[in-house]
Symmetry: C2
Subunit: 268 residues, 2 copies
């Protein structure tokens, strides 16, 4: 048995695009796409065989679910313009906004947070993406579980507080990690070495923590406080005017060394 939902999609950015496409491909009926930029609404609506709308006043009523994939700063503003919430279920997909943002407006509400990094021009499979759900009402939670389960095999309940925690952790594991890739590419550029040389290392580093505690598989000069190598690396960066990277190198190395000392104490 499969439930097909009638969905109004609010937003036309990366999350709206990827999530909208996935829902559409699973047979859900995306009836309308809202974006305050008319062109963005049109482009996405065309793909999803939906109607575009650029004015909240023209939002249709009677859908099952209103799925808000909007920037945190915009959601409250958009909600305050909605005239009729009807009896529909309203969801947002934000990692950092609590469920309670909906409370001044409607009681049938929930959070539908897919934990993934979405970029334009990159296909994403939702199959194993964790969906973190929170609902005001138990009956709505069941609807959200059905919706999430139509996309992914990893559906979890999570409170707003847990999701806030998860979002902070995700910034470290994803956003900051990507910025280290950016820095590595900038470093390699000094000798015209192509970034692709790092790809097997990057993917192995990521794959390794699937089965091992990250702290147990930490490698590199900082684990053993190899000052000789570390100082050479820092001097290399400083000689190229890369003061910020040199400072970050020192800082991260100390954090790694401290942690490895703790690890050795607990797991000698």
């Amino acid at each position: 048995m499969k439930t097909v939902f009638k969905i109004v999609l609010l937003g036309a950015g990366n999350v709206a695009t990827h999530l909208g496409n996935a829902l559409f491909q699973k047979g859900h009926d995306i009836c309308q796409v809202y974006s305050r930029t008319e062109a963005s609404a049109s482009v996405l609506a065309r793909t999803l065989q939906a109607s575009p709308v650029a004015d909240i006043a023209h939002l249709q009523t009677g859908a099952d679910i209103y799925l808000c994939c909007l920037k945190d700063a915009v959601l409250h503003d958009v909600l305050s313009q909605v005239k009729d919430f009807g009896n529909a279920l309203w969801l947002h997909t934000s990692g950092s906004l609590p469920l309670s943002v909906f409370e001044p407006f409607t009681q049938r509400c929930g959070v539908f947070y897919p934990l993934q990094t979405f970029s334009k021009q990159r296909e994403i499979s939702f199959e194993h993406i964790p969906f973190c759900l929170e609902a005001k009402h138990e009956e709505d939670l069941q609807i959200m579980k059905d919706l999430a389960a139509s996309l992914s095999d990893d559906v979890r309940e999570m409170t707003s507080a847990q999701r806030q925690n998860l979002h902070v952790a995700a910034v470290f594991a994803c956003n900051f990690t990507n910025s280290l890739y950016v820095m590595a590419q900038e470093i390699l550029a000094y000798d015209k070495i192509d970034f692709s040389i790092l790809q097997p290392l990057i993917e192995e580093t990521a794959a390794k923590v699937r089965h091992a505690e990250p702290a147990r598989v930490q490698t590199g000069p900082a684990v053993r406080m190899d000052r000789n190598v570390m100082d050479k690396h820092i001097a290399w960066l400083e000689a190229r005017g890369e003061q910020e990277k040199a400072a970050l190198y020192e800082n991260m190395s100390l954090l790694i060394y401290e942690k490895s000392q703790q690890e050795n104490k607990h797991n000698p």
Copy 2:
């Protein structure tokens, strides 16, 4: 045609173990394994059907290749104890030591650097690992290329200066990245959220840069300098006494934002 080399392996750590196993599996003859810890030499030698040796004075002569997988700080000391370098080819596997470490001792020498992170209890496929080679003599470079090609399809020549650069970049892309995974796990522990929830995100973050410039796929609150979310995250960390992570959060976010401003200027 395939050349089988007679190899003496110096070292019994992670690199020696993984590289020794791979060479053994490809049919090369590992005749001796040296480690100053006799037990370590014995364990690895048994796996590789080699003789263990814990005293440099008992190193056998007449092998084709002496492969030094030793800590940087130890290599010079070990070399200074070797009595007879014979006419063999001596190689080291270090990212940060120059070729010239061999020069006081022998002229037939080279660097055989596999760019990967090696941990105990984790099988590694060498198939696509970049091998970065440097040799004193052209004839030896050909031998090293044959040896590397027996393990991997990615064999490159690289000067000591380029390899030094690469090693710095690898510390950022691998060692520092893993330490971000460690921090993410520590953060999740506050709400008893299992680290495995991040695995799809971590692997997607790594896979994404295979086909895209890292700077073009940067996501998260810092790209758009979303101070509202950033301040919530920093306050969250500070409220838990995580001052170091809070400071790192601020610092990394600024680096990400600066970079994204540059990107927008060049690729509006």
